[in-house]
Amino acid sequence: MSAERRTLVTGAGGFIGGRLVEVMLQTPGYDPVPSLRRWSSAARIGRHPVEPVLCDILDAARLEEVAGTVDAIVHSAVGNREVTVEGTRNVLEAALRAGVGKVVHLSTVDVYGRATGRVGEDRELVVTDREYGDSKIEAERVCREYAERGLDVVILRPTIVYGPFSELWTVEPAQRLSEGSWLLPKEACMGTCNLVHVDDLVRAVLLALDTDGVSGRAYNVNGPDRPTWQAYVEALNAALDLPPLSPPPSTSARARTTVVEPFRKLVKGVYFRFEDPIMSIYKGSRPARLAMKWLQGLLQRVPSPAEYDLYGRVVDFPTERARSDLGYEPRIGMTDGVASSVEWLLHEGVVVPRE
């Protein structure tokens, strides 16, 4: 690439958007413009001498103003259904109007629902009862609509994205392991963990940005290994230098899930409706804080039915299409990826090493 391409990164305060900005800043040819909904999410990217822009993707006018200053957009912002679907529409509309040359839209393999087996990009997209995957299906439809209207937009469907700063697949399992509260029996975790390191995903994004003639197409983005979930968790546990896992017998673990699940739904519902008063009680009263922490710990420890479903499902998301069209090949295997993740976890004090 001859000149630096100014690229707006939506969701730059998040795990993937934040890493993308960091990588662009150290890769010749890129000039990232991090976009944030709130300044409070600027701490990570603010470590660099960048000037983020404040832009709520539900604000179409503001988006159009910002899109007018860039050559490309990577859309990694995510939220509730409105943000994911209408926000994506706003991003693409702004891109089309401003003449932005390329948009990379980050979707997810959750668009395939609870698929099993070998799941290529032509597999039917399946609506489930989960807002995240379902709204990403709608967002993909919006992408295809704009591709037909002439916008150059590429869809990436990453799998389980882990690595430093991944709350969901690095921080959370590591914390559960270090607290001795990984309570899933081994036989429940024999499904496929389609791990992709965040740097491999970023590699795919950069390749997609620089590939012409693939507008409207979708690509699975997976890592090089297909470990079981048990193998991933054991690798993480070993890298954290923790004692071997000793989960409860399968029947009692399942029983706990059955008992706790209705309670979990109730707590979620109450928290969703009364977040502000609950947080003010949390901050103002020590007994309430201790009680809430206990409850939160319990709900985190006891696996949900969705976890059983995920950890037990045997599924592969092949990346041949990304290889042939984009030239993508994942380079970071589980061993290296887990090692650098744990190095980060310990450095940042997310988990405290055993004395």
């Binding site: 470590r47 000037e51 901050k283 030239g327 940042e348």
Partner: protein, 335 residues
């Protein structure tokens, strides 16, 4: 003192000073909210019942009795200077300034004009922190002492401007934020002669979001680990040959004392429940200094030692070894 200006209408004004002013026994009757973003000033004025707004503190010098400065860090001293020169007492957010030089000049100016300048070093008002200070001074834990202060969480402060981050921060972030509180406590407990032995952070030219400071002084060594990136233990531990004291920073009313014979909690009655409750004592301290001539809990001279430490940290900053930050750079295509 009925006419108070709040200069800077960001999150700290909205969540701390303005609710605090409203809860004071003699809450000031006329509030003027000042912010270059006048829309923001008007929004807060409606929310908190302020009578007037202005775009600049210079527009209101003739009609205020005192001012609270809650603007971006680098503007504290320039604004305070204007106010002090007009004879108006000032309560400034921490850090009072961004360099030792400007804070020293402000201290001299305030003394020359006889105008009160107080700094919101909130932690000086926390009963648990006071208990720790007493314990340190009593020598009960023996000597030498070791201190470990670990504090932080994923940054979630509802910042209204980007002044603390990236290029706009002047490359100074977390240390001026949480660091200003922690270093102030260390100076209060161990005196002004602490020195910086080591300072590491994760700045790549912007605002650091993770840092490590090692300090030492007569009979004390201190390790401070702070983060804006991940939830920490949020605990201060002071250890000596004769015992150990622990303070969980959200427990404003208690510390735990561990002795060879066992552990016990030391509690202070009638402590505030949350940090935001500390606004009232902070404001009362300032108003007493103005009205009754008492010394504020923290004036410009009191924060010079912690300002010096922060400046020394930045002067010798080096980056953590964080290899996961480096991208392998391999963008070659296959196929």
């Amino acid at each position: 003192m009925n006419r108070i200006a709040v200069v800077g209408c960001g999150a700290i004004a909205d969540t701390f000073h303005l609710p605090g002013l409203a809860r004071m026994p003699d809450s000031p009757k006329n509030l003027v909210l000042v912010d270059p973003d006048t829309g923001r000033a008007e929004k807060l004025a409606r929310r908190h019942g302020a009578s007037e707004t202005a775009a600049s503190h210079r527009d209101v010098l003739d009609r205020i009795d005192a001012a609270i400065i809650a603007s971006p860090h680098h503007t504290h001293v320039p604004i305070a200077r204007d106010l002090v020169e007009a004879g108006i007492p000032v309560l400034s957010e921490k850090p009072l300034g961004v360099s030792l030089e400007e804070v020293t000049e402000l201290a001299e100016l305030a003394e020359a004009r006889g105008v009160v300048v107080a700094v919101n070093q909130t932690r000086r008002f926390i009963p648990a922190a006071r208990e720790l200070g007493k314990l340190v001074r009593s020598g009960d834990l023996g000597s030498p002492l070791e201190v470990e202060a670990v504090e932080g969480d994923r940054f979630d402060w509802p910042a209204a401007t980007p002044s603390m981050f990236g290029a706009r921060s002047g490359g100074r972030g977390l240390l001026l934020d949480i660091g200003a509180h922690v270093l102030d406590l260390m100076v209060e407990w161990f005196g002004p002669d602490l020195r910086v032995d080591d300072y590491l952070d994760d700045s790549f030219g912007g605002s650091e979001a993770s840092l490590l400071v090692r300090l030492s002084g007569p009979d004390v060594s201190i390790r401070i680990r702070l983060s804006w990136l991940a939830k920490q233990r949020n605990e201060f531990v002071i250890s000596g040959p004769d015992g150990r004291a622990r303070w969980g920073i959200y427990d404003l009313d208690r510390i735990t004392l561990e002795r060879p014979g066992g552990a016990r909690e030391v509690r202070r009655a009638s402590a505030p429940g949350a940090y935001s409750d500390l606004a009232v004592p902070v404001l009362q301290d300032f108003f007493a200094a103005v009205g009754e001539g008492t010394s504020p809990a923290a004036g410009p001279r009191d924060v010079l030692p912690s300002m010096r430490l922060m400046e020394e940290c930045y002067a010798r900053r080096s980056r953590f070894d964080i290899p996961w930050h480096d991208f392998d750079g391999d963008l070659s295509r296959v196929g």
